[in-house]
Symmetry: C2
Subunit: 377 residues, 2 copies
């Protein structure tokens, strides 16, 4: 019968490395289980089609012990099972096995043919340097808060920070479309305030409104932002899904830099024995989806990322990845002026410093606070 | 100045209970930290506006010890900070604190005014009973697999299972739009096969295609499914985001039953000290978003959910929730015919039995295998 014609997948393959806990024997069994669970999800002894067993089911390339109860399993999957979709790539990499504790996705290697299907960061390191005209120092971003302020009050803060010379001002990620500061009014007021500031300083400060929103409104908010002359966009893939970030970043009608916020993603990296590594989650996935900048908690702030995790993340954000542009690391989370030097020593100067609440600490003159920060760079 | 006009939020409030690890003193500190981190995300000593401190910042209602190092903190938030959006509700409930290990969201209580903004399950328990015309027994669903089969081959399997009398046939959640079984062709072939089967059996078997897809294609797939006469839809909010599920479920032009799949959500429930409880994640959030059925791993299958977790989940799926309809629990994950009795004893008969690969185990006559299952009910 025609429907029994043999499968002939292309020879495109990608690999994923999973850290598996347990004995080496258990790890080998679990590695094979991942091959099945993430593809056919079907009792292997009941698959009578040899072509499916050989081409669709993942293949264990090796299991290597890191410690007595921790092993790295490298698994190869056929590119064709992804069907060119980021959503299905996520599903193959870490879908059902997220439900099985003791498995952590630690790295992913995609062939150039698969990477070429992603646009990646539209601006990336060079693009944001060109757009801002700033060379040789970190870029600087602050956030509009606290939630509860009206749009005019937020615009006033934005104006004062812009006079102090910061490069970007983003919405706090909790600013959505609340009645006390509706999205459209924020756009109108804050972009106007920043144009006024630019008239005085002679250089632009880019506003990145938060477009994390209901599924049917994300694109409309991006368009509103574009119409009002926003300088970029902030979105949280942990809430909207990574593919919504991709859609916004790839849309040529929008064409704005996109910052990715880590809210609600933290559980994936909270436990070293399960979830997804910092490099894959905040680095690779954001970059595939086209984020120009990835915000994450710098070690030593009010969150608990380790130095190693931050280093791995930054490397994944900026290291070689086919033809995809490198993405800006944005270490944040309770950062202060005093940490700037430590941060640039650790990451280098190709970072965006995100300093939020603490930029209010030096006193009520926000312009002076911002200027003091800028002079340190 | 006008932008300093005082805030006046409505008196709508909702509460969330977080399990916090550490000493009681630490837990009390962390509870207050949640109040700040999830709202203003700003150093509290720098908030000079009393109205914001009093109305926007969350409020600790109590901290109760469960064990020496495990405590339950009840926190009250203003409804207005959510702005009527599920995305921002998720952000307030578990956004940035997902990045802080040792905090688990265990329950959420929304007032009726907030619940009334969600449509919830369109069909729910009663609606799917009416739609299928089946009373007094569990409904039965199977899944089309393994991945790699062509659309005609999947349609052939669907036809044979439908002749055996199952109520629903869903796509395996790994079926996306791969070249070996493209979405449109699956829809065309499988709906045709099920119409043919219905002509013979005299009763319908509903097909639920997987519409987990890129952000800009989810709605188009739902429409294609509707056009071809699919009986429902399968979607994975862990990949698309919960609000995409809500959008699809609430859309009156679609108007089909929606099954929610747990792929990629598992990390949230993997560690008892962090993430989100089974009841909130697979129960409440799916139900708010409008899922008619929530698929999850039944204890004792090939996943590791406990009996308690499954019970909590089922209770959250079906218990009182304002005017929202109850949602079907769909225990699954390596289920077999032998477990049916145990499952109905545990959950009652208002469940959908999802038996996938194991329905192939009794032999190649899929119609007979399905019939044997149906006769057990």
């Amino acid at each position: 019968m025609s429907f029994k014609q043999p499968l002939s997948l292309s020879d495109e393959r990608f690999t994923a490395v999973y850290q598996v806990t347990g004995s080496l024997k258990e790890a080998a069994e679990r590695a094979f289980d991942i091959c099945v669970e993430q593809t056919v999800e079907f009792p292997i002894d009941l698959i009578h089609r040899e072509d499916i067993r050989e081409q669709v089911v993942g293949e264990v390339l090796g299991v290597e012990s890191v410690e007595a109860d921790r092993h790295l399993a490298t698994i190869r999957f056929a590119g064709d099972i992804v069907g060119g979709e980021l959503t299905q790539l996520l599903n193959v990499l870490f879908g059902n096995i997220s439900l099985k504790p003791g498995i952590r996705l630690v790295s992913v290697t995609l062939p150039d043919t698969m990477l070429a299907r992603f646009r990646g960061p539209r601006f990336g390191l060079q693009g944001l340097r060109s757009l801002t005209g700033i060379a040789g120092r970190p870029l600087v971003c602050t956030a509009l808060k606290p939630m509860g302020l009206s749009a005019p009050a937020l615009a006033d803060i934005a104006y004062r920070f812009a006079l102090g010379g910061v490069d970007f001002i983003k919405d706090d990620h909790g600013l959505a479309d609340q009645a006390f500061a509706p999205f459209s009014e924020r756009l109108k007021r804050i972009t106007a305030a920043l144009r006024k500031a630019a008239d005085r300083t002679g250089r632009p400060c880019l506003y990145m409104p938060n477009i994390t929103a209901p599924s049917d409104q994300v694109m409309a908010r991006a368009e509103t932002a574009k119409d009002f002359g926003a300088g970029g966009l902030l979105i949280a893939p942990g809430i909207t899904g990574f593919d919504t970030l991709r859609r916004i970043a790839e849309d040529d009608r929008i064409g704005l830099p996109v910052f990715s916020h880590p809210t609600m993603l933290g559980t994936f990296t909270a436990h070293p024995e399960s979830g997804i590594s910092h490099g894959v989650l905040y680095g690779l996935l954001n970059r595939l989806a086209g984020a120009d900048a990835t915000i994450f908690p710098h070690f030593g702030g009010r969150f608990t990322f380790t130095k190693e995790a931050c280093g791995e993340l930054a490397k994944s954000a900026t290291g070689p990845l086919g033809g995809l542009a490198p993405m800006w690391p944005v270490p944040a989370g309770g950062m202060s002026l005093e940490k700037v030097e430590e941060m640039t020593q650790f990451y280098g100067t190709d970072i965006i410093l995100l300093i939020g609440g603490n930029l209010h600490r030096k006193g009520p003159d926000l312009t002076r606070n911002a200027r003091e920060l800028m002079e340190r760079l």
